[in-house]
């Protein structure tokens, strides 16, 4: 940095003498390192600029012109002298005035372009084109401390040297995307120990390729490919999922990794059920709102109950299959059974854990079982969701429940079109028939349970007696 105007309150010559004396004694007695390895011309500059001096601008701004020679010696420019950038030697020190610091910086930065031409190409030209007017080299690179790019601190801090500023990229479509990265967001993500280039592969301290993408969406889809380099298991599962499937069919709105997990803010997906359910809402808002009114969604949202299923518990997270398929439909009882056949969990809510088994032993359940074994099926057989609903599952005690007898006939009619008002009575619920709930069935079963053994034992005894008599007669 060059001092254009000596402090007003000092006589120039006195100052110079004092400086020189102090400076020489200083280097002599404390054997400061630069004494041996700085050029004479620099020594001449430093004779003054190692002092506390302030430059006053016309606009009233002040700038210290004290130079720390150590800083220069650590910079990449240690091999060039002050005059190489500042354009004059100590003995030819011009006297200039500047209106503002900014004016001075702009002027001084022009010097850089004498050696460095990359501002006209590649990443610098792009950055400059987007930067506020008047952005100059020193704004990013500093001046006396300027470092070779690859010598800057490695890791994320290296990238953040630039990306800690407000800047954006523009896609061909005209969309803009900020590429200002907040360090605190990175630090709170699960990837805090990764470096930027782990995901942004192809980039390094040496390389910053210029790429163009048609749209923001194209970029997100391309970037999500990075995830599979570590999360290959999840990636392979998504290949079987419906989202990937519709993506490959050309629907670019189908979610990729970052749509659910975030990009720089990525956090562990397992932690919070509510947040997880919310992810799906972004696209499936209608279903989410239905779900939020259901017994499961209501408990999740209002009571923060973590026992209830969220979207991914039934649909899975990565290998989401099309729920409209027969296979998915046929898997529903096991899906519901994951919780509803869990004795410990169901006891907590006073729900019978026998619902799955009672279904499987009934006409519909038996039919389903054989359908699942691959036999031809004329039409889908009723599973849990066909009577209880899917996202709108309600408590049985709620008056609007589709499962209380008054409403049930409508559900029956979905398959049994000609069902009449008393047809739902044929469904003896998920209970074992007993004397109160289904007396007729109970009595018939009880009768046969007594009669069949009585009959069979009687017949067997008679056979044995007959054989015995036959043998005795011979």
């Amino acid at each position: 940095m060059h001092c254009s105007k000596l402090p007003q309150n000092m006589d120039g010559l006195t100052l110079l003498c004092c400086c020189l004396v102090l400076f020489l004694s200083h280097i002599f007695f404390s054997s400061v390192s630069f004494a041996e390895n700085i050029s004479e011309s620099e020594q001449a500059c430093m004779a003054c600029h190692s002092q506390n001096m302030v430059l006053n601008f016309e606009g009233g701004e002040k700038l210290s012109v004290k130079i720390n020679i150590d800083e220069i010696k650590k910079s990449v420019h240690r091999i060039i002298s002050c005059s190489d950038c500042h354009g004059f030697k100590a003995e030819q020190h011009p006297k200039r005035t500047f209106k503002t610091k900014r004016q001075y910086s702009s002027l001084a930065s022009r010097t850089c372009t004498q050696c460095h031409v990359s501002h006209k190409t590649e990443i610098h030209s792009r950055l400059l084109s987007q930067s506020p007017a008047g952005t100059v080299c020193t704004d990013c690179h500093g001046f006396h401390s300027v470092q070779r790019a690859r010598e800057l601190p490695k890791g994320n801090n290296y990238c953040l040297n630039c990306h800690n500023r407000e800047m954006s990229i523009t896609f061909k479509s005209g969309e803009k995307q900020s590429i200002h990265i907040h360090k605190d967001i990175l630090d709170s993500s699960v990837h805090r120990n990764l470096s930027c280039t782990d995901c942004h592969f192809g980039f390094s301290s040496e390389e910053h390729p210029v790429r163009t993408f048609r749209s923001k969406r194209d970029y997100s889809i391309a970037m999500s490919e990075s995830c599979r380099r570590c999360h290959f298991d999840k990636y392979t599962r998504t290949l079987e999922g419906i989202h990937y499937n519709i993506l490959t069919k050309g629907n670019l709105q189908a979610p990729v990794c970052t749509d659910c997990h975030g990009a720089h803010s990525v956090y562990s997906g397992r932690k919070e059920k509510f947040a997880n359910a919310k992810k799906c809402e972004k696209c499936h808002s209608e279903i989410y709102s239905t779900y939020s009114r259901s017994v499961h969604g209501g408990a999740l949202i209002l009571e923060h109950n973590e026992d209830v299923p969220i979207c991914s518990d039934c649909h899975s997270a990565h290998d989401i299959t099309d729920p409209r398929t027969t296979d998915f439909h046929n898997a529903v009882p096991q899906l519901c059974g994951n919780c509803h056949a869990n004795k410990v969990l169901m006891k907590k809510y006073g729900i019978s854990p026998d619902v799955l088994d009672s279904y499987l032993q009934d006409f519909h359940g038996i039919t389903l079982k054989f359908y699942k074994q691959g036999g031809k099926s004329a039409k889908p057989i009723a599973v849990c969701t066909d009577c209880h609903g899917i996202h709108d599952i309600a408590k049985l005690s709620s008056p609007n429940s589709p499962n209380i007898k008054a409403n049930l006939v409508k559900r029956c009619q979905k398959c049994h079109a000609d069902a009449t008002a008393n047809f739902p009575d044929s469904w003896i619920s998920h209970y074992k028939p007993d004397i109160r709930k289904a007396p007729l069935v109970y009595m018939i079963n009880l009768g046969y349970r007594i009669f069949i053994p009585f009959m069979i034992i009687g017949l067997l005894l008679q056979i044995l007696l007959h054989i015995w008599r036959y043998a005795a007669n011979r």
Partner: protein, 243 residues
């Protein structure tokens, strides 16, 4: 009718033989397709269902075989009723008080409490038990089977609970019928030392005079008189009117 030194008497006409064997075939099909639904957890059941082309195919086979069974049963009831009421057939299957005493007498004989087994007519109490089992059970299976085939139709006329009740009746009655046939009928027709290796009457339609005398002495005496002298050899048919 003489053959290899033995004298035979005609017991069943060709139609009754056909009726028996068709009924047997239908019964086997119904049992295989029906019990494999009831005992769906067993691997043999699953094999049967899959071999028949899945549960829908199994049910179709079961239902249409059920129709054949129903036609057979109704035909039998109608022809027997008409025969007895208008053609003066012997109502030989009617259960009498004597059948109960015969059963008790026979068990006493087996236990060695009496010297002789019960003296039975054309059909002994065991045969009547099976016959009425098939007829009454058949009517029950037809009625409950129809309810299960058309549950919504049934619910129009019957309380809803009748449908699971029909299922309970149908499956339990089927199991009972299956066990009675497998244990009792198969014993009496094959494994009983008196007929082993097989009772040929339902193949040939004739019974040896000697066996008839032994198993159906009352019928024998009615036909040939109490004397054990040489019988006429005249063929006696079931439909022969009582004169």
């Amino acid at each position: 009718m003489k053959e290899s030194g033995k004298e035979y008497i005609k017991r069943f006409g060709p139609f009754r033989i056909f009726e028996h064997w068709l009924n047997a075939l239908v019964f086997v099909v119904l049992v295989l397709t029906g019990l494999s639904q009831r005992f769906h957890d067993y691997s043999i059941s699953q094999w049967i269902v899959m071999a028949l082309g899945g549960i829908d195919a199994t049910r179709i086979i079961h239902r249409y075989t059920g129709i054949v069974f129903s036609v057979l049963t109704i035909q039998h009831i109608i022809s027997a009723s008409v025969g007895i009421l208008f053609l003066r057939w012997q109502p030989s299957m009617i259960i009498h008080k004597k059948d109960f005493t015969d059963a008790i007498d026979n068990i006493r004989y087996y236990l060695g409490l009496t010297e002789h087994p019960a003296r039975c007519d054309r059909f002994d109490y065991k045969q009547k038990f099976e016959y009425w089992g098939v007829v009454v059970g058949g009517i029950l299976m037809m009625a409950t089977g129809a309810i299960l085939w058309f549950p919504t139709m049934a619910a129009r006329f019957l309380p809803g609970e009748f449908i699971p009740a029909a299922k309970a009746l149908h499956t339990n009655e089927a199991l009972l019928a299956f066990l009675v046939i497998v244990i009792w009928h198969i014993y009496n027709a094959i494994f009983s030392p008196e007929v082993f290796p097989v009772d040929t009457v339902m193949f040939t339609g004739r019974i040896s005079k000697e066996r008839m005398m032994h198993e159906h002495p009352i019928e024998y005496e009615r036909l040939f008189g109490v004397s054990h002298g040489s019988p006429s050899g005249e063929e006696i048919t079931e439909e022969r009117p009582v004169t």
